[in-house]
Symmetry: D2
Subunit: 366 residues, 4 copies
């Protein structure tokens, strides 16, 4: 089935495999009149580029984006934005080996079960490179939301047992792990080093915070804002858990702790002092900061010996070598941010038709 499209009004469709000709995305439904350049996209893509630290793969990737349509004289036209990144690294020899067996923790077996065969080169469509399209689209959503005073930032909350204790936004960009806590980052680096020595890998938790979200965005029932965020984040490979606000902690709390009481701000806005809800009540934003977390599993490709089965139905032992990050989290941070931005942008555009009074005003004072 068609599974590569996300969004209702601000709609993206991604395409491309790890070792095909390229990776791309088409954004359909981006409003007209948004200033946009390839630099705007590139700065987002560069955040997922490997080789920024020794805990990310050393392969030379040069993911430079080309805008092929939808921008005229520096502004979006309202018609589809097509963006393309050519794959540099198309030689398949280093991957041909994995064609014959199913790597534990990967989608090799499930792709064969569904489609009868697969593009085995570097994971094909299930490779992390698929996220290039999401991030390119996320960069456009970020520019759009900027115009409405909404910002979104994701960062590494924990790596294995090492959790960020403090929150210093400036330090997020300073360390290769995107942690908002320098000391935790250093400790996490030591932890990853030991994982690599043991031919093993680690997981972690990514947190994302959205500021400036007006109250009243999202829909009741099935299109709840948090439900769409959950789907968006869970659509990222390796994500195994999602929680908003107090999340799983709320399952252990009492109502008196978990409820956020309302008060009136000096501007007479209805606010809450606490934010256990994470900014969403009944699926609709309440004007507080939106805060959620994603649990990311350890990199499944490890050098340690594993048992598996071949296409031809033979049990074997394997040890996966080559260029693999011991941790997915740091490169996934910008992907989480991008999926959140896309979800929020779509919800804001959808929300414009909620209220007759505002529709009448929209059409009567163009």
């Amino acid at each position: 089935m068609a599974g590569s499209t996300f969004g209702t009004i601000f709609k993206i469709t991604t395409w491309g495999e790890s070792h095909g000709k390229g990776i791309g995305v088409v954004i359909d439904g981006c409003p007209a009149g948004l200033s946009l350049s390839e630099e705007d996209i590139q700065c987002f893509l560069d955040r997922r580029k490997p080789g920024q630290s020794r805990y990310a793969t050393q392969r030379k990737e040069n993911d430079s984006v080309e805008i092929l349509s939808g921008v005229f004289e520096g502004k979006t036209t309202g018609t589809p934005l097509s963006m393309l990144v050519w794959n540099q690294d198309q030689k398949s020899k280093d991957y041909s080996e994995i064609a014959s067996y199913y790597r534990p923790g990967h989608a090799d077996f499930t792709f064969d079960a569904k489609y009868g065969f697969r593009d085995y080169r570097g994971g094909g469509r299930s490779s992390g490179r698929e996220t290039i399209g999401r991030v390119a689209a996320g960069a456009v959503a970020a520019k759009l939301l900027q115009q409405l005073g909404i910002t979104c930032i994701a960062y590494t909350k924990s790596i294995g047992p090492v959790e960020a204790k403090s929150f210093d936004v400036t330090s997020i960009g300073k360390n290769p792990l995107f942690m908002p806590d320098e000391n935790a980052a250093k400790e996490a680096e030591r932890y990853l080093k030991s994982c690599m020595e043991q031919k093993d890998s680690a997981g972690g938790i990514i947190e994302c915070v959205i500021d400036g979200m007006p109250a009243g965005i999202g829909d009741p029932v099935f299109e709840k804002l948090d439900a769409n965020l959950a789907k968006a984040i869970f659509s990222i490979g390796a994500v195994k858990g999602f929680e908003i606000g107090d999340g799983f902690h709320a399952a252990y709390a009492n109502g008196s702790e978990n409820n956020d009481n309302f008060y009136l701000s000096e501007q007479n806005d209805i606010k809450t002092h606490t934010n256990h809800s994470g900014g969403v009540l009944g699926g609709i934003s309440n004007g507080s900061q939106i805060v959620f977390r994603a649990a990311v599993k350890p990199t499944p490709s490890i050098a340690a010996t594993q048992k598996t089965v071949t296409n031809s139905g033979e049990e074997i032992e394997i040890s996966i070598h080559g260029r693999h990050d011991p941790i997915i989290v740091p490169r996934a941070v910008v992907v989480v941010e991008s999926m959140a931005l896309l979800t929020i942008a779509d919800a804001l555009l959808l929300n414009m038709s909620a209220n007759l009074e505002k529709i009448r005003k929209f059409y009567q004072n163009p």
Copy 2:
């Protein structure tokens, strides 16, 4: 925006408010030829009916379902199934009070922010009664999946600090909390009693297990099976967290623990001994049991004093009395099960067009 529809092929649309004339659902896309009676639906609805224990509200609800269309001579016709439950309890007086202020932890404020006003009677559209439509549809999905050898069961994993230690499927139906562990259930009842004495409420965790799922169901990228389950479960009011397989625990594990190694069964099927993935790899089922958990927040309506704000912008103190469960979890168990059933049914129908060989066979040997 239209937020009350769920699914692509097996598509449901729910309608109705807590104190309107009734609650209902339309299922469009249910295959023709499925034997279906009102009893099939009723037995599911009865599982969410309150008054089964003193930890559920005592109000008399008599939610008997009527099938209005889509069934002829005992079988589904392939055209829309419309199901209706009349509301017994339409007098608004006991709710008129809450019209004037915003209950903490409820959607009162966010509905006003979005729509400009709201049906305040008993929570209106954001009431738990909205789930009647989901459960009625879930019952139909269950019958459909039965035909394909797929079963789904949800139960209470924990209530507040009390966790089910053992798993005895027969005891799930025996205690009013739907826990698979009699001793834990008794302990949980004591815990809830103390919550009520303190005018407070509790949360908990629901677990759901799907058996008989073939490998190869679900789609890569945005329509991952686990992403759709995450959205389905998060669309249930009060859910604050979702995880599959090891979930958040995987963020602390190493790859060598988290990967499920493959082996060949005696029937030469490719299987895994462990199930850290929860039955999904790369968004596609791998043939293992699908296992996920949902975190449910405490009932927001509590008798303890809370601070809030009125429509007219006045800060007040409130204490919510009346018939409120101190815990949402037990009544949400069948809702979680229903949303999972709906997600799985849709994924199975969508999957039929994945593979040309099977399509050719389908059309050449009708």
Copy 3:
């Protein structure tokens, strides 16, 4: 597949069969704050009610609508509007005969081919009664568009060889055929009388005109306003042709005749003197009147002898008696109008997100 839902934002789902318990529709995505009563719906439904003339079936139908949800204190709440009409006429005996064979020109055979069996009572889901849901929804769309200064009117352009020569809007409601030309109406009545005498039926053409449509509504490429109108109108049973503006006539014209030249109105609006385009250029409204026509085939149920085949594969001759209109057109007029209203309403709501400047204004001056 789920085929009973129409629209993207203003989304309707119809259900019900001719002789089931009832017929209904759920509207999801109707903006909040629209004044709505059952009378608003009923006056639309009454326009499709038979028994208004001797050219419509004489069966007593009393299609009174009930609003079950989505309206509170006289206004739409923004949540799903569920509307229901009970079927009065559920006894199946007069229809049991047609269970055994396939009526020419009807969907009996194709339903069996698709679903394996069918609800044969009065055509089941393919009965004209299915349009009750469309018309009820159309009435809501009409009220919504009224608020934006947009009106829509459909009428009978021709019946068999008899065409309306003049256009007198006041006379549309005065004759049972809904023709805007009294003399043509009288002539058409004579023609229908002769058809009945010959145990035969007639077809005709319905024209629809939309006034007050702003320029800029609709989308390029696949969601062209006229493409969505074409689908909407073609989804009405018995429609065999659709054209907009000059329609098929344009295929015989030259560019110099067919192009509508632009001029500046006194209000400095860009207008056209002619309207060969029918109000749509490149799939987007140009501010002119939208004008389209639908060709409706003759009633397939005729008393004349026809050849057909039975379920059990026997060739037989049949003659269909009972209460059948010799013409579908007059009862379809309000259905055409309703489908047009639904299409236009959805397009207007979708259009709100086209232009960044207007989105910014929308969110910055709430």
Copy 4:
């Protein structure tokens, strides 16, 4: 809004402007295992290439397609197929003139009304070049349907007053107008020559025939097969009318003529001798040939003098010179065929979930 996506399961998204970097399409939902090469696509694209006759524009276009993803070792993988055609002709000078005024019969004005500005180069997104993406996708649908024994062919039925009298399928490819009647083609060429001498243009009618369609495909109510064909064909620029089977003629016929009586074939299949319905009853295919026609308006760009208005609100007279076909029809033939193929392919894949018996068989005998 996102208007560049077509289809539910076999879903395509087109992008690109006449004078942007390129034009492309992403097909998502194409089944895995279909043999596909760039040659398969190119032979379709070449049918819309101009310069095949002196009645098509003389500009050098070299539209060679590149498959960027979704094919591995010569077969579709089930993941998105991305196809790209680079634009050769990106210099804007010959088009800069039209930036300042609105061409009658074109979308210049409506794009400005919707988006606030437009890519004016060669019509931008509303250019005929947008159809390159549709045709590339149509070629894939054709290969898929071939596997199921379904073929589709479109041709020129009439040009201006000149109608094809005979039907000789072999001659369709032999004349530059794609008419199935050599004599009519010659006469039409003479007619077009005279149009050009008068600085004018002509319209025409395209007919399309689909063979091998099984009975039972399509859905009742809103997703009728003919309704989706109507939308598909009306989404092609310049189409002003669509009819199926007898179409508008049926509005003048009697039921006794219009009904297709059923009989039993020697293979005991239920057939009809006549085909007034055009192969669809109640929105579902009946196993007959599907036959429909589209009315195409004359090329709006003509050398004759026209009145229009400038961006700056000035009334002017214009005469459009440069490389414009006097007729759109011949180049639109393959586009009509492609849109029909896409509609049919999607309907066939959607239909697989209609019937429980077949679903059970599908999953129980994989």
